[in-house]
């Protein structure tokens, strides 16, 4: 009972906020609705017993991706009324593509039983939730059976990092940087000098 209630609550809010993402006029509101949609999808994952995916969704999508979106939306100066100008002009072609997609969806829905049933041979069977948690199950796979892929992914990320630095980092002349060595090596004499001033004469 409570399960069903939770499901419908999360599902309704997810669908509603997903619609609002594309319907709201203010892009900042769109991003906020997107975050709401992510949170509710995470709730749906928890209901499915996939708590690891739920947490990852919150951490990665809400914590990183949505915040990034927020930054971009706030930094870009887009005139949305300007963007909407061509709406009339592109309506026919857009509507046509929409119709094609709709037809495809209907066809897929009608031909649900088209393919022969798949002989399920999952790469690894999921252990029951009573045995171990999701996180434990994933960890015991990633670091044993899939260690090779895990290491390769690490190398790919390393290449991405090297690439980003190679292609964007440049040495700019004239930038004042802190040099600890210079600071430590500085002697008392470099910082000031003692000038004997005779009374009444000034520093002329």
């Amino acid at each position: 009972m409570i399960y069903t209630l939770c499901f419908y609550l999360f599902a309704t809010i997810t669908v509603f906020s997903a619609i609002m993402v594309i319907a709201s006029r203010n892009p900042v509101h769109s991003v906020l609705y997107l975050i709401l949609a992510f949170f509710n999808s995470a709730g749906l994952f928890v209901l499915l017993g996939a708590e690891f995916v739920a947490m990852i969704l919150v951490i990665v999508y809400v914590g990183a991706v949505a915040v990034l979106f927020m930054f971009v939306v706030m930094m870009l100066d887009i005139d949305y009324s300007e963007l909407r100008k061509g709406f009339q002009k592109y309506l026919p072609i857009g509507g046509l593509i929409g119709l094609v997609l709709l037809a495809e969806l209907v066809l897929v829905g009608m031909g649900w039983g088209l393919g022969s049933p798949v002989t399920t041979d999952p790469a690894t069977a999921t252990p029951a939730l009573t045995e171990m948690t999701n996180t434990e199950a994933l960890g015991s796979l990633i670091y044993t059976k899939y260690i090779f892929l895990f290491q390769m992914a690490g190398l790919i990320l390393l290449v991405a990092m090297i690439g980003a630095i190679v292609l964007t980092h440049r040495k700019r002349p004239g930038v004042k940087k802190q040099s600890v060595n210079k600071q430590v090596m500085r002697r008392r004499g470099d910082a000031y000098e003692i000038v004997k001033v005779k009374p009444g004469q000034g520093l002329g």
């Binding site: 393919g115 798949v118 044993t144 260690i147 090779f148 190398l155 790919i156 290449v159 090297i162």
Partner: protein, 496 residues
Amino acid sequence: MTETILPNLAPAYGEILMAIGAMTLLMFGVFRGNKSTGFVSLVAAALMIVTLFVTVTWDATAVYTFGDMFVADRFTSFMKVLVLVASALAVIMSMQYFRDEQEERFEYPILLLLATLGMMVMVSANDLMSLYMGLELQSLSLYVLASIRRDSELATEAGLKYFVLGALSSGMLLFGSSLIYGFVGSTNFTVIGSNLVHASAHGPDIGVIIGMVFVLAGLAFKISAVPFHMWTPDVYQGAPTPVTAFFAVAPKVAALALLVRVLYVPFGELSESWTQVIVFMSLASMVLGSVAAVVQTNIKRLMAYSSIGHIGFALVGLAAGSQEGVRGLVIYMAIYLVMNVGTFACILSMRRKDGMVEDISDLSGLAQTRPGMAAALSIFMLSLAGIPPLAGFWGKWYVFKAVVATAVADPMATNYGLIILAVIGVIASVVGAYYYLNVVRVMYFNEPDGEFIPQKSFNMTAIMGLGAALMVLFLLPQINAPVLEYARMAAAALIS
């Protein structure tokens, strides 16, 4: 709780060595800065040679490790040797170039090392997931390498174009992989293969075939077979010349090795379906590579079309669908490696006082100003064209022989396609000879204008000389017997 068992690392010693070496060199380079480039390059080349010996000593029958995702057999050893030789030569050839351009960056040899590591993983992949990992490691490094001269507009364009199209092809490959996993129920090559054999009673699912075609399209991007070749000329022209020299050989060898494994191990059962695709790609590549190259004036663009054509010829061996065909393909790639590396060593020597030049007309009268280089480049051009006693001819000979043998062996004589493929292939080869011979004509019969500055690097001269000598001497059984024998063993490891 499952107990942990250390996977068998022995088949992957070469890869592990490369990965650790690349990371160590990266740390060294980070602390020493760009002035350590020369040293880092030398160590990188040495590391590749050491890895080569580690790979060669692996001379066993197929061994699977890392949960059957990684395989090492004679086929992988042979292809890895080709990849490592090509990469090591690319590192050596680029040292002088970047020194002359004063663009030395220590990341360059390290990215080359990591790209090579990706290629080795591609060659050894026995699972759709490890295939993708290797492919991405290689591609990502190549995207960066293409635009490593970030101040050059052409190089930036080349890098961007390569990246966007490469990402598209990866997307197609992943889409195909997901279809295959959905319809077959496994990502492992061996399991897919055996599942398809069992499913063959009522014919394979259409979904598997669609998935396979998508994977084929993704891989065809990487080997730049027509109709997925559009990026090649622009990237080859825009990228710095030593990077182009690298692009032209090692990634192609690795991607072809991967293609052969994907077609024979998981999809051996569907050979009727994929033969059509391969025959079409092969035909189109040969024709386009020969015809479109005729109007080129830039030698790097010419080499791009030339490489498209050569991939077409190599695919002829695959279309034959026999052990002999795969053997022909392997021999072809070995010869292609030497021809291309030699040609690019010549192109890298095209330097005037005011910088590098890369037009074919800049070669005019080379026979009078630099007779040695002209002779070497002529040998490479004639070999690329496939003029008989030279090695390039023998490469074509073995693939065409295999495809004709398959066509003739069929008692029903239904393989008209293969006969047509062979005939058009030979015609394309003749058409292609025109532009290779044109380069020779420009060097020998045009008046010289301007002189190249002499090549300072001994390595380049050695690569040119050795390459040309190999092309001429391939006729001798002492030279060709080991290549033919190892190629036969490599093909036998894949197809029994």
